[in-house]
């Protein structure tokens, strides 16, 4: 049996919690970053996250007999992404109609996405679906706690890779330029001959694909179940996090790690015997969101890096 770690357990738990819990934040925030760069906001990613979690779990459960326990969860991940794309397409089309507010559509999509997930997910709450494989990077260590902390999901590594890739995409590719142009100055983009509708549509759909995969990580990796309250607001927090990250994919990565670690703080401190103020420690991610909202909002100036057309309904 494992020996007690004592106070060392707290940094370990936060580090492990970071690697386990930040994946959904990472995917949703990268997806939202892409969406917002094109000048539209998609609050509906909370619903997309839930739909992704449900579809991944359902497909993994249903497919385990026909494709085996290894492939089924990967099929689930794909299904989650596709389900996200469907929701994204609805949002992309609706929010670009004349005089339609993307924020309002986003809120409707939260209700719709979670509603459809709860409705279709009813029969999958109880069954046990095969989970996604993990990479055991801690095999070199003989401390069981460390071995477990280093049992990393390939989805996390995928997210780590997507962040710099997305940055490169924005900075150095023609398509990235299109997205930025549409987001910053739709008139100029139109003058360049770019279809604003198509660019935004593709950005929203691709962003929702990523958010759906974030959901798959919730239900197939960590915590690894499908319940109706699996997301506990993580999708919305990830949207706030994009603002905190100033629409920079690399900052999104750091912010996601911070939020993932914050989730582990409350339980880790309690288990080493810090049992006062646990409500505050448990609320750490939400308090963090609030502070970000306070410190980044200013009526005088727009934020550095904010896409010009964001929130203007242009």
């Amino acid at each position: 049996m494992a020996e007690a770690l004592g106070w060392l357990g707290v940094p370990l738990a936060i580090a492990a919690g970071t690697m386990r819990g930040s994946t959904p934040f990472l995917f949703v925030s990268l997806g939202e970053c892409l969406t917002e760069k094109s000048g539209k906001i998609n609050l509906g990613l909370e619903g997309t996250l839930l739909t992704g979690a449900m579809s991944a779990y359902a497909i993994s459960y249903l497919a385990q007999d026909s494709v085996g326990e290894f492939l089924a969860p990967w099929l689930g991940v794909l299904a989650a992404g596709l389900a996200g794309m469907v929701l994204g397409a609805i949002h992309g089309w609706l929010s670009q109609q004349p005089r339609v507010s993307d924020v309002a559509v986003g809120i409707a999509m939260i209700i719709f996405g979670s509603g459809i997930a709860f409705f279709l997910g009813k029969p999958f709450i109880q069954p046990i679906a095969p989970k996604l494989m993990t990479l055991d990077l801690g095999a070199w260590s003989n401390v069981p706690q460390l071995q477990d902390a280093l049992r990393i999901s390939p989805l996390f590594l995928l997210g780590l890779a997507i962040a710099p890739l997305l940055r490169w995409f924005f900075k150095s590719t023609r398509w990235g330029l299109f997205v930025r142009a549409v987001g910053d100055s739709p008139e100029a983009a139109r003058a360049m001959g770019i279809s604003i509708f198509k660019v935004r549509m593709l950005s929203i759909v691709a962003g929702s694909f990523l958010a759906g995969i974030g959901g798959a990580s919730l239900s197939l990796y960590y915590p690894g179940v499908w319940t109706e309250r699996i997301s506990t607001g993580q999708g919305l927090m990830a949207v706030a996090l994009v603002i905190f990250a100033r629409w920079n994919p690399i900052n999104c990565l750091y912010a996601s790690l911070l939020f993932g670690g914050a989730q582990a703080l409350g339980p880790a401190l309690q288990s080493v015997g810090v049992d006062s103020f646990y409500y505050i420690f448990n609320a750490a991610p939400y308090i963090l969101t609030l502070f970000i909202a306070i410190f980044t909002c200013s009526p005088q100036k727009t934020l550095v890096g904010s896409p010009g057309a964001l929130g203007t309904n242009k």
């Binding site: 049996m1 494992a2 020996e3 007690a4 770690l5 004592g6 357990g9 370990l12 738990a13 492990a16 919690g17 386990r20 819990g21 409707a108 209700i111 719709f112 979670s114 509603g115 459809i116 709860f118 409705f119 009813k122 709450i125 109880q126 046990i128 706690q145 477990d148 960590y222 915590p223 690894g224 179940v225 319940t227 109706e228 309250r229 699996i230 506990t232 993580q234 989730q263 582990a264 409350g266 339980p267 880790a268 309690q270 288990s271 080493v272 015997g273 049992d275 006062s276 646990y278 409500y279 448990n282 609320a283």
Partner: protein
Amino acid sequence: MKPLRNPRRLPVSRRQVLRGLLAASAFGAATKLTGCTAASEGEGEGETSSGGGSEDLVVGFIYVGPKDDFGYNQAHAEGAAAIAALPGVKIVEQASVPETTEVQEAMREMIDIDGATLLFPTSFGYFDPHILELAAEYPDVQFFHAGGLYEDGMPDNIGSYFGYIDEAQYIAGIVAAYTTATKKLGFVAAKPIPQAIRNINSFTLGARSIDPEITTQLVFTGEWVEPVKEAEAVNSMVDQGIDVITCHVDSPKVVMETAERRGVYTSGYHANQAELAPEGYLTGAEWDWTSIYTQYVEWSQAGDTLMNGGIPHIVRGGLESGFWKLSPFGPAVSDEAQQAVEAIKEQFADGSIAIYKGEIKDNEGNVQIEADKEFDQKAVELETMDWLVEGVEGKVS
């Protein structure tokens, strides 16, 4: 000069009306999708009653989460399914109703539309103020609530029922004590309400009755359903060398699965979770609502009500009245532990054992129950418990 106006023109255009209607129906569809899906399923099951249609007793059940969550709601839904099979009973159910005014709407619908005369809103937080308000509004409908919140002076049509499931937790503590190698047990709890504290204390007392060196580490997650924090709690506990974990959350699924993955033992709660942790599952404290729900139906069919005094306002019970049961032992439970449990179970069945028997100190060293004192399970002091026994590492506030 006033500008001329077309007198036939309505203040709202046709387009606005259409848009409003569309939005309203879309909203209705969305809320239907999120909330009420279980109701129709429930009715399907419920309509198996054999008696004549109009005479049926309509019983409403409201759950805070899904009905098959391996937890609190599943335990109640199993009880509901049992009475649905009785002749002359029809049940209506609604799952995933939050502890907000939404539960009042759910109750109102069941009363006004389905004609329910007995209501079981099962979640702890439904009571105050929701049940209290509705009970005053519908004096002929009877409301039954699981938990120790009913007090004299509240509306006459409210009843309270609860089982002494801490007896089962006491036994689970004994099993944990026989199994643990590190002498550290873990308890993941949602909120510090008296029932949870009583379970934590009884679990610890049970374990320490076997080995007084055992401690229980307590982690509160703050909400009834908090999957990520529950998983984090289990992981940090295992990192601290804890090797038996139990919980008091709405759906123990995450706790059981995470602990199994980390290779430690678990003790279930609410319902049987053995299939989630085939190797590490020791036993579990399960509710058995079937008997009390059947009892309420029998009382009602005989014409008894809360208002005419035929049904007692407070119904409580332990093993002897079938309020709880233990999950079958898992493979890791030793013969020695099983024999010890059988012996204790007999004492619970004939009522010859008291869990809270002095002297009991709290974990800050104060004597809470004096040496010559003994609390019967019915004691009010136990239903309002707000201190943790010696050996629990944690704090209530």
